[in-house]
């Protein structure tokens, strides 16, 4: 296993950063030429990308597998709705409030959550999200089981909403890029791969796990606000549904967890290949979706993106001398092999 060198001056991050900025500006500028249907679809896809990427940073790069995205979606959606309904504040402040609210919730929950390791963390986050959903259903001030309706005249829609979704998704992509290419990310990977060794080298495990949990939760909260703007009506069944958490995991894993572009591919594959393509198939859709998920993790356990990378690199590899370790994923932080 080769030792990764600490990046300095990060020339490696330059090109991806340029690419991200270009794509963001292009996507942003596309808004006027897109139809209403495409804008709406764009918002959906970008929101999924945001939560899948946030999950990816938390789980793929920092090793904290979460099943709690729904909790932060819900906190973001409800914060925005309650601010808009009960105060005269404009939507940008409500959006900001959602991010801050979800971040604070994460900070608060970190006290108990960060005591948990591995799969226990997953169970803990799942418990948080189910408890929050039950609480919202019983909380009459927040609309109880029927939920809340946002004031339509004071929220962004169409092209504006799409552009907000582009910016939020770009933030998520930017965070992933930063983590992928920074010394901070390298320390996170060390905590992920070998906690005791990382601690021995003077890396504060608690602070690094916290530093991954809080911003990813804030991003998920922003995604919740975007969904509230899009759906206009939010209810515990919808915005707090555990399906958000499952989708975040599915998309990131199918695309390739621990890689920057994996979630992008995963959103495409899961949303188009499964959700949309199968929506008039009934029982058969369950069969195909189940079988596909199993096939992907069985035969492409690192996800679709690394597979595509390898396919794209094959011509070069043939021209050059085969390098040892050439099958490591180019885009991922190297992972120490597990036992067995």
């Amino acid at each position: 296993m080769k030792t990764p060198t600490v990046p300095r001056g990060t020339p490696k991050a330059l090109w991806p950063a340029v690419a991200l900025t270009t794509v963001t500006i292009a996507a942003f500028a596309f808004a006027p030429v897109l139809s209403l249907g495409q804008l709406d679809l764009g918002v959906t896809l970008l929101t999924y990308l945001t939560i899948a990427q946030a999950w990816n940073v938390l789980a793929g790069f920092s090793g904290q597998i979460s099943l709690g995205a729904a909790a932060f979606m819900a906190s973001g959606g409800y914060t925005t709705a309650l601010i808009l309904i009960h105060t005269g504040l404009p939507w940008p402040l409500a959006l900001l409030g959602s991010g801050i609210g979800a971040g604070l919730l994460a900070l608060l929950l970190a006290v108990p959550l960060l005591r948990l390791r591995g799969d226990y963390f997953a169970v803990g986050t799942l418990a948080v999200s189910v408890a929050l959903q039950a609480l919202l259903s019983n909380w009459n001030w927040a609309g109880g089981a029927s939920g809340l309706t946002l004031p339509t005249e004071r929220i962004p829609s169409g092209g504006n909403l799409y552009q907000i979704a582009v910016l939020v998704a770009a933030l998520a992509m930017g965070l992933a890029l930063y983590v992928r290419h920074s010394a901070f990310g390298l320390r996170l990977a060390a905590v992920r791969d070998h906690e005791a060794a990382a601690a021995g080298l003077g890396v504060s495990v608690y602070r690094h796990r916290l530093a991954a949990l809080v911003p990813t939760s804030a991003l998920t909260g922003l995604a919740g606000a975007v969904i509230a703007f899009q759906f206009v009506v939010i209810s515990p069944d919808g915005v707090a549904s555990v399906n958000w958490s499952l989708n975040a995991v599915l998309m990131a894993v199918v695309g390739g967890a621990g890689t920057v572009l994996g979630p992008v591919v995963g959103v495409g594959v899961v949303y188009y290949g499964l959700t949309r393509a199968l929506q008039d198939q009934q029982t058969l859709s369950l069969v195909i979706e189940g079988a596909l998920l199993i096939a992907i993790v069985r035969f492409a356990p690192q996800g679709a993106w690394p597979l595509i990378c390898r396919a794209g690199r094959a011509p070069i590899a043939r021209r050059r001398k085969p390098t040892p370790g050439a099958d490591t994923v180019p885009d991922a932080i190297p992972r120490t092999p597990e036992h067995v």
């Binding site: 020339p11 490696k12 090109w15 991806p16 690419a19 270009t22 794509v23 292009a26 996507a27 596309f30 030429v33 897109l34 139809s35 209403l36 249907g37 495409q38 804008l39 709406d40 679809l41 959906t44 039950a134 259903s137 019983n138 109880g144 089981a145 029927s146 939920g147 309706t149 339509t152 899009q230 759906f231 206009v232 009506v233 209810s235 069944d237 919808g238 915005v239 549904s241 399906n243 958000w244 572009l261 992008v264 959700t275 929506q279 008039d280 198939q281 009934q282 029982t283 859709s285 369950l286 990378c309 794209g312 690199r313 070069i316 050059r320 390098t323 180019p330 885009d331």
Partner: protein, 399 residues
């Protein structure tokens, strides 16, 4: 080496994204006009066909209505006959999927009208109809439960008040001590149902001994049953999902709580109630349709689906779907246009007479008839209105 692959990878992905975006943009100009002139008129529904709730019967009713309309050459819009295309999407009982599908039906497929399916999802769908300003015709949501929206949702279904009135008339004819126990799920529908039935019961001279609400998925009802036995309530009203009622009926029998009259709102409507065997005998159920009531299109429904669905509640769901879709298509014909505002105006003046009787919307709501049925050996018999129905049997399953 790593650096070059990186650059290649990112360039590749960037190019792919741009190409996808460009492809989408190219699509835009070609698809936007599809529903406006000569093509079929698109109506859409997001309905649960898998997961917790499966509503194949309502979907079959929609399809029957569309088939009928297209057999006559379609609907006349702007002086031309145009066929109707119904888009049915399965939302797997998931609220988020439903919302996303409704939005894509309207924004991408240019559906001019929507059909609502059932229950709580109807309430969430109303928010979308109002936000997208597209008419939505729904049933299976008792009219009292339709929230006050912005006027794009039209609900033609039975009224909780009628159901309660009929039930208490049936109950007054049976020999009970008039003490009543009400148990509902604690969602919006359950809680409103509980309040309304309690009010009607008190007016009809019944005493509400206790009202309990339980979360969906409850399996231990000992607390509710305790309230029944300690108050001696002989009339039981349950408004819950089927699995909850199954568990409660078994537990009631085991714990020897013996009401004399019990109605299972929502839950006893499932044909699966028959799998309770004798235990389910005598349980009352509220019906939206009966084959002996002389409603329009009864023969059509029985002829087409009488073999596939043998149960009154299933055929009632087919009737419901047929009824909803007919209301929407009649309004398109009446408006002579697919414009949302014109369609909404036509719906307000709807005079459709379909599988659930005549329609007349007041405040977006139109009442359809209510029947009370009773389970007996795996089948439901109509017991109210007494005319055309069978006599009320005892609640032998729990006795």
């Amino acid at each position: 080496m790593i650096r070059t692959t990186h650059r290649r990878a990112y360039a590749l992905a960037g190019a792919a994204l741009l190409a996808a975006a460009a492809g989408c943009a190219g699509n835009a100009s070609s698809s936007s006009g599809s529903s406006s002139d000569d093509g079929p008129i698109v109506i859409g529904t997001s309905i649960s066909l898998s997961g917790n709730t499966v509503l194949n019967q309502i979907r079959d009713g929609y399809l029957l209505a569309v088939e009928q309309a297209n057999a006559k050459g379609g609907l006349e819009v702007g002086g031309k006959k145009r066929k109707v295309e119904l888009k049915v999407l399965d939302n797997r009982s998931d609220t988020n999927t439903m919302i996303q599908q409704v939005r894509s039906l309207v924004l991408t497929d240019k559906a001019v009208g929507l059909l609502g399916s059932c229950c709580q999802q109807n309430i969430d769908m109303q928010g979308q109809a109002d936000a997208l300003k597209v008419p939505l015709v729904m049933g299976a949501l008792p009219i009292e439960l339709l929230p006050k929206g912005k006027g794009y949702t039209w609900d033609s279904f039975q009224s909780l008040a009628d159901g309660a009135k009929d039930f208490f008339e049936v109950a007054a004819g049976a020999k009970t001590n008039k003490k009543t126990l009400i148990v509902t799920n604690n969602d919006a529908q359950g809680i409103s149902t509980g309040k309304l039935w309690a009010g009607t019961g008190e007016k009809a001279g019944f005493a509400i001994a206790a009202t309990k609400s339980v979360p969906t998925g409850t399996t231990d009802f000992s607390d509710v049953i305790k309230a029944g036995t300690s108050s001696g309530a002989q009339v039981l009203i349950a408004s819950m999902t089927p699995p909850d009622c199954f568990a409660m009926w078994k537990q009631m029998k085991a714990l020897a709580y013996k009401p004399k009259l019990a109605i299972g709102l929502q839950c006893a409507q499932t044909p699966g109630w028959g799998s309770l065997g004798k235990l389910g005998n005598g349980t009352l159920v509220q019906l939206n349709w009966s084959d002996t009531a002389g409603l329009p299109d009864t023969d059509l429904i029985v002829k087409k689906y009488g073999k596939k669905y043998t149960n009154l509640t299933d055929l009632g769901s087919v009737a419901l779907g047929l009824h909803e879709a007919t209301i929407l298509m009649d309004a398109i014909s009446a408006a002579g246009s697919t414009d949302a505002a014109a369609l909404n105006k036509a719906l307000a003046k709807s005079t459709t007479v379909s599988a659930q009787g005549p329609v007349k919307f007041v405040d977006n709501k139109s009442v359809s008839p209510t029947f009370i049925g009773q389970w007996e050996d795996g089948a439901i018999k109509q017991v109210w209105p007494a005319k055309g129905g069978s006599p009320l049997a005892s609640l032998s399953g729990l006795g």
